[in-house]
């Protein structure tokens, strides 16, 4: 690692497109010690050699599950004590950002490229909590955030 200290990174994404986008961002935190959190245990096959934890999938139409998902994420963040939390969404990722902030981690939200005309609801909330919020669409960038620094496509 050329004498550079490895950092504990918590990388969070729900299943489907969110997870696939997180996988594409992987080269950005390759040299670090990364713990993954997702909603489908089968994704462990995508990250051999890394820890992967599963939290309940939830969205705003299921408030009770949201609460459960948040508490699972709180436990995970407290146990992992990450230096960096990065997420591509959705709701569980937002919880990761909020709790990551609580433990002093640098928090990075990359809004899904699916949100081409408006930031996701989670992304708009992340603007209030995360150190860095990125949109993958230049026309959605604003001086006060979200910022645009490229996209996966």
């Amino acid at each position: 690692m050329h004498g550079v200290e490895q950092k504990r990174v918590l990388a969070v994404a729900s299943g489907g497109g969110h997870w696939q986008q997180l996988m594409q961002l992987r080269p950005a935190f390759e040299g670090q010690i990364t713990t993954y959190v997702t909603t489908n245990p089968a994704y462990a096959a995508d990250v051999p050699g890394s820890e992967l934890y599963v939290v309940t999938d939830a969205n705003r139409s299921k408030p009770l599950r949201l609460l459960w998902s948040a508490s699972e994420m709180l436990v995970r963040v407290m146990r992992t004590r990450p230096k960096v939390v990065i997420s591509t969404g959705a709701a569980p990722g937002l919880f990761g950002i909020v709790f990551g902030r609580l433990v002093g981690a640098k928090t990075i939200w990359v809004d899904s490229i699916a949100n081409a005309e408006k930031m996701s609801l989670s992304g708009r909330i992340a603007l209030r909590f995360a150190d860095i919020v990125l949109t993958q669409w230049p026309h959605l960038a604003q001086v006060t955030g979200p910022l645009h620094h490229g996209s996966i496509l």
Binding site: K7, V9, I86, K106, N115, A116
Partner: protein, 160 residues
Amino acid sequence: MILVTVGGQLPFDRLVHTVDEWAREKQREDVFAQIGNSSSPPQHIQWKYFLTPAEFQAKAREADVIIAHAGMGSILTALELQKPIVVMPRRAHLREHRNDHQWATVNQLDKGLGVAVAANEAELAALLDRLTEMKTPTQRRTEEYTRLLHFLSRAIDETR
């Protein structure tokens, strides 16, 4: 083989039924659909409610063309495997999703990517009749991708 997929979250009967009807008409027996939690499964094509990520990867590799909801998971898979893809966006007013972001996605997606878009069932039916003319999607634009990775790895490296 034609792979139809609605993603891992919600059913999308409008998509599946359009393909089902087309397969009946054309007597196609090489169509497989992943239909989500649908209460009205198709009659004329093979189907499953859900696939594991590995099963989905295998089906997508096997497919000659993918017909999908406009979810990024499906689109990214097609781009990665260089498979022709037709997408139809879910609509919020039809209660197919919580909001209209899939409509936004297809309206903004770079036309150069080679993702074919059907706005509705009629357009989907028309595209299904021209599947043999479908082109393989183009490689992703790597400068934007490299830029994002550089930004993120730097942000992570600078963390104390």
